[in-house]
Amino acid sequence: MTTTNDLIACPGCDLLLKKIESVPGKKLFCPRCNTVLVHKKVHSITKVLAISISGLLVYIPAIFLPLLTLHSMGMTQSGSIFDAFLSFYHQKYYIVAVLVLITSVFFPLLNLSLLFSVSLQLRMRSYSRSLPFLFRTALHMDEWGMPDVYLIALLVSIVKINSVATIDYNIGFFCFIFLVLMTRASTSTLDPEAFWQKIEEIRLLSTFGKNDVR
């Protein structure tokens, strides 16, 4: 007699497979469609907590402080990530402006702060009804927040600008690089299955009453 806990369905092709224990750091693939089934990571919750805190620390300087200062023909000009959104807004390209705001300013913040609050709650073993929703949203933010794409765009712009002006690199630039590194690090240390199992565990505990815990 097998229960649902011994089985696993491939997210890519729905093939029903028997769950097998895997070594952390090693990926298991679906035999039929080659989708990654299991990719365990060590101490995922603690690492994500630490990384999201350090990401949040540099968030404000990374987005609002000037990235670069240009000098050309006696004039200077500088701008931040937020200014880039404002320039589309002032040019009346509202759709593009909103998209840039969401993908480069809003979602990276939401991603880090949701991961911070979820991993903190899991560490403190306190279940709240919104916890599953918060984590689900955090997983989606990973796709729609694009600071890494933005960083490549920044490097492309630097190459473009280099021929017309001299460039000074400001604090915002280095903070932004750090923010991108932290966002990428949070993605690569995140083990959704570990998070979900922990959420399920403390959810059951909270429904049976907190007196039985510990």
Binding site: L70, L86, V96, V100, T103, M146, A153, W196
Partner: protein, 210 residues
Amino acid sequence: MSDKTAKQLTAMDAGFLSCHDCGKLLEAGQMIQDRAVLTCTRCNSELHFRKPHSIARVWALIITAMVLFIPANLLPIMRVDFLGTKSYSTIMDGIIYFFHEGEYGIGLIIFIASVLVPLFKMIGMVIILLSIQFKWRKGLRHKSSMFRFIEFIGRWSMLDIFVIALMSTLVSFGGFTATVAAPAATYFSTVVVCTMVAALTFDSRLLWDA
């Protein structure tokens, strides 16, 4: 490995629902059937055997993206004002500029991100949709890895939009030189959003059901 396409047991065949969001496997029979919406006991998201109306929605989004891709490439995406003269450039003009300047690496990155990637996404999704509808069961493994690739590269098409955002902020020296966005920016970013939503709406398990 060859295509062993003899019918293998899926979770749906066995009467199991697997959650789209957290991957938990639930027995469909156990769930209370009189409720209109089944929700996952772990993450509270709605449960379906397959994502609802996936194929119709993906067709709609891909066709929208294909239509908008035409103005996105034909209309100018950027305007550079230099000492009062305005010059418009399309996506291709920008790429050709980099190749003329000798910046082959950068030119190639932009070409891949803003021309090849959207094209690949749209053509790839059409191939996948057609193969579901006409039950072409060849190379399913390749098709599903192609889909995973489409999912992965989707966001990188925003590169050009971000470059324009940065250029228009940084390169604006009063009346001397200024860089401004042009109409194709809106079309292009809509193409990116449509293709990304299409990849999210598509249920890759349908490939194997066909």
